[in-house]
């Protein structure tokens, strides 16, 4: 993680439209968070105040200043998932993973998040694991779900 790597990312995004978002998105994807040095390097390269990038980094929920887990488990809390028991799914995952919503397991393997709406409302409640959406999740089967979605991914292993 050198300043050059960050600068290279900045240089790849040439269109002015959505430039800051797409740069931070790439850094977030690659490093699982936005390291301070990355924000500093990007601000310098873009010739923007660091405060602006910090503002963006803390405004949008996609970004995190703390490292996120290797695998992101996002429980959908859209309206339909809410009325169909998303809270019970989250509670069960909190128990299984030993973290509360928004937290990352001690081994850095999992982050448990609440997501706003994945647009799969007809199949609620849904859970997204590393970007792929799983339908009609039951609290009783979250264990199996994680195991099948993430090879070797049994929580607590």
């Amino acid at each position: 993680m050198t300043g050059n790597e960050y600068t290279d990312i900045v240089k790849r995004h040439t269109s002015p439209n959505g430039r800051v978002l797409s740069i931070l998105e790439e850094i977030q994807r690659k490093y699982r968070h936005l390291p301070e040095e990355a924000l500093r390097a990007a601000a310098e390269e873009l010739n923007l105040p660091l405060s602006q990038l910090y503002g963006v980094a803390t405004f949008y929920t996609s970004f995190s200043l703390q490292p996120r887990g290797e695998h992101i488990i996002g429980v959908c809390h859209g309206t339909v998932c809410h009325v169909k028991g998303a809270a019970r799914v989250t509670a069960e995952l909190e128990k299984k993973l030993g973290v509360s919503e928004g937290g990352t397991t001690g081994d850095g393997k999992f982050t448990l998040e609440s997501v706003k709406c994945l647009g799969c409302c007809s199949l609620a409640p849904v859970v997204s694991i590393d970007g792929s959406v799983h339908a009609r999740v039951k609290p009783e089967t979250v264990d199996e779900l994680i195991k099948s979605a993430i090879p070797g991914g049994a929580p607590g292993d």
């Binding site: 800051v20 931070l24 949008y60 809410h82 009325v83 706003k116």
Partner: protein, 644 residues
């Protein structure tokens, strides 16, 4: 999933015809065509494995068939959906297909039969909405009804979703074969002001929520004298419970692109941006692919169709902020700032992205444009009501039997949608309310099922059209909890710039939290009402101005439920845990012990076949026993109710 074929530029009507011809060969290939619905909803239901299994079976049997991905045909609750079209026969829709069905399905196909086990309905003709042309497929099989006769599809008129589930979204040829890009070619040969006049005549209003007349917006932007203008497609579909924009972007991306190119011509814009929320990775990928295809064929770029029009489109991915659906916040986001709205005027049509005139249209709005440009404003205005023309796509979701995307003419009643297309609440429960408009909307009680769905009627009933979310609620849903849910959402998404929204939503949420936890006070209802009105009147942008609608509408129609929470410490739906006490009726309990097995807290006492008792000290009031009891011997009551 890219396709070969024509690589040279499309420069004339004749080139477009070649594109169309190739597309028709793909859509009606002279051998079986199997399409698997692989939008996000289909994939979540496992369509990826179905696609692979069918591919394997075809190979194993050496059956010559075309296997393609398609978008979502709308009936998401019956995913995974697969369609099979054989030459000269009706198209068969299959629902609930599992990987194990691949073998028998392909085997039935090899024998020229219908695989009855999963057959849903037949389609005997394809109507190309853009041109009005009809293609007859073949007679339906004797023992299968028509898809169009199913409750779910009967009231539908699919305009904006005309190609979703039908074409391969990665094929520009198939889009052209459905009449795509024809309206663009005709538009480019004519006068921009003529097209704007048609759009004004059509009565099309913005489908993203606010319902501003689209033609007028185009006219203002066109008249904003500047050499540089932008057109933005707003795909930041943030309303939880609405996903028609995702479905269109994933199932028919070229319809949105064509709408944008026509807009660019009418308004003199050179740059286009499609802003898609980060939660929709497949939509981003599909649209990106469509842009690359259109560029390759010269339908984007310099001198489109030799008309002198130069226009290109890029995708910007959001980063998780509901407020970015508001147009000035969306612009701030594209410019690299936090998504905070600014006061209007100046409106973006005069001063938008980078200070230049900018037209922002929603996905569904743009998907309608090629139809209006192609068939005229009068044709489109022939559907719907006086103030709300055309059709609207609704996400019919929640506690309803047939759940998915339904597109109906404006003015269709709530009942026709929820009880008709939706088949009513699942499991024979009673309809309690219908929530429209997401966090900006409100709850309509079951007594208003005859309310026509149009902009004016919904507003009159205390809710809004919004982007078209329609969440069905039965008796098991607590209306105070719903208000609290939406207020949690609004308070969390409030950008914090203006005080009424930032402080007001937090204060209202505090009160609702207290009520749902048993600390409600009689004066709370008046405070809620007054605060909600202040936030509505005094907030800077649409988020705050509508954020309290869920509270105001539930207070209006379900006041007694609030009162039960406050006075009786009773949640009639049994949702608010702190107010709910579970009991076992010893006369109904058969001592099967299922509840004890299910109870996570070990709160159920008793043994053998004796009636069980719940220890109130250990009970976490999760309701697991209530849901599992086969005898309905377990019931709940309010903490403050007699006998609790």
């Amino acid at each position: 999933m890219t396709e070969g074929g024509i690589k040279h530029r499309v420069e004339s009507g004749r080139d477009l015809q070649a594109l169309e011809k190739k597309g028709l060969e793909l859509l009606y290939p002279g051998r079986p065509r199997i399409a698997v619905a692989m939008a996000s909803c289909g994939r979540a239901a496992g369509s990826g494995r179905i696609y692979e299994s069918i591919g394997d079976e075809l190979e194993r049997r050496g059956l010559d068939a075309s296997l393609v991905p398609a978008g979502c045909p709308g009936l998401c609750s019956r995913e995974p959906l697969v369609t099979v079209l054989e030459p000269g026969k009706a198209r068969i829709y299959y629902s609930g297909v599992q990987p194990a069905d691949a073998g028998p399905l392909v085997s039935a196909l090899a024998g020229g039969e219908v695989y009855q086990k999963r057959a849903l309905g037949a389609e005997v003709e394809d109507r190309l909405v853009v041109t009005g042309r009809q293609i007859d497929l073949g007679p339906p099989p004797g023992n299968l009804g028509l898809l169009a006769d199913l409750d779910f599809y009967r009231p539908q008129v699919r305009l904006a979703t005309r190609n979703c589930g039908c074409i391969n979204p990665f094929s520009i040829h198939e889009y052209a074969a459905r009449g795509g890009y024809r309206a663009l070619a005709e538009a480019l040969a004519g006068d921009p002001s003529g097209i704007i006049a048609e759009i004004k005549k059509s009565g099309l209003r913005g489908r993203g929520g606010a319902g501003f007349p689209t033609g007028l917006k185009w006219e203002i932007t066109a008249g904003s004298g500047h050499d540089e203008k932008y057109i933005i497609c707003n795909g930041d579909e943030g309303d939880p419970g609405a996903y028609m924009d995702r479905s269109i972007l994933e199932g028919d991306p070229h319809s949105v692109l064509e709408g944008m190119i026509i807009g660019a011509y009418c308004m003199g814009a050179r740059h286009g941006i499609i802003y898609v929320r980060a939660e929709y990775p497949l939509a981003i990928k599909t649209v990106g692919h469509a842009i690359a295809q259109a560029r390759e064929l010269g339908l984007l770029g310099e001198n489109i169709l030799n008309s002198g029009l130069s226009f290109d489109v890029e995708v910007v991915m959001g980063a998780g902020a509901f407020v970015c659906g508001e147009e000035t916040a969306l612009i701030a986001s594209i410019e690299g700032h936090p998504g905070e709205p600014r006061p209007r005027p100046p409106y973006p049509a005069r001063q938008g992205l980078w200070g230049k005139p900018t037209c922002i249209n929603n996905v569904e709005t743009l998907a309608n444009i090629p139809l209006i440009a192609g068939r005229g404003g009068d044709w489109y205005a022939g559907l719907g009501t006086a103030g709300s023309r055309g059709t609207k796509v609704f996400a019919l979701v929640g506690k309803v039997k047939n759940s998915g995307l339904v597109e109906v003419p404006m003015g269709t009643t709530i009942g026709d949608i929820v009880l008709g297309a939706g088949g009513g609440p699942d499991g024979g429960r009673k309809l309690k309310a219908v929530q429209t408009g997401g966090p900006s909307g409100g709850c309509i009680p079951a007594s208003l099922v005859d309310l026509p769905v149009d902009y004016e009627s919904l507003t009159g009933a205390g809710t809004i059209m919004g982007s078209g979310g329609m969440v069905v609620m039965d008796e098991s849903v607590c209306m105070v909890d719903m208000a609290r849910y939406f207020m949690t959402f609004a308070a969390g998404e409030s950008c914090g710039k203006c005080t009424p929204c930032r402080e007001g939503t937090a204060e209202i949420l505090d009160i609702l939290d207290r009520i749902t936890q048993g600390g409600g006070r009689p004066e709370d209802l008046d405070t809620l009402d007054e605060l909600s009105r202040v936030v509505k009147d005094a907030s800077l942008c649409g988020l705050g101005q509508t954020a309290t609608n869920p509270v105001l509408s539930t207070l209006r129609y379900f006041r007694s439920e609030y009162e039960a929470h406050i006075k009786d410490k009773h949640c009639p739906a049994g949702v608010c845990r702190n107010l709910t006490v579970y009991r076992i009726n010893p006369e109904l309990c058969i001592g099967c012990g299922l509840c004890a097995e299910e109870c996570p807290g070990g709160a159920i006492l008793g043994r053998d076949d004796q009636p069980r008792v719940i220890s109130q000290e250990s009970c976490t009031r999760c309701g697991a026993c209530y849901r599992i009891c086969p005898q309905e011997a377990i019931f709940f009551t309010g903490r403050g109710m007699p006998g609790a």
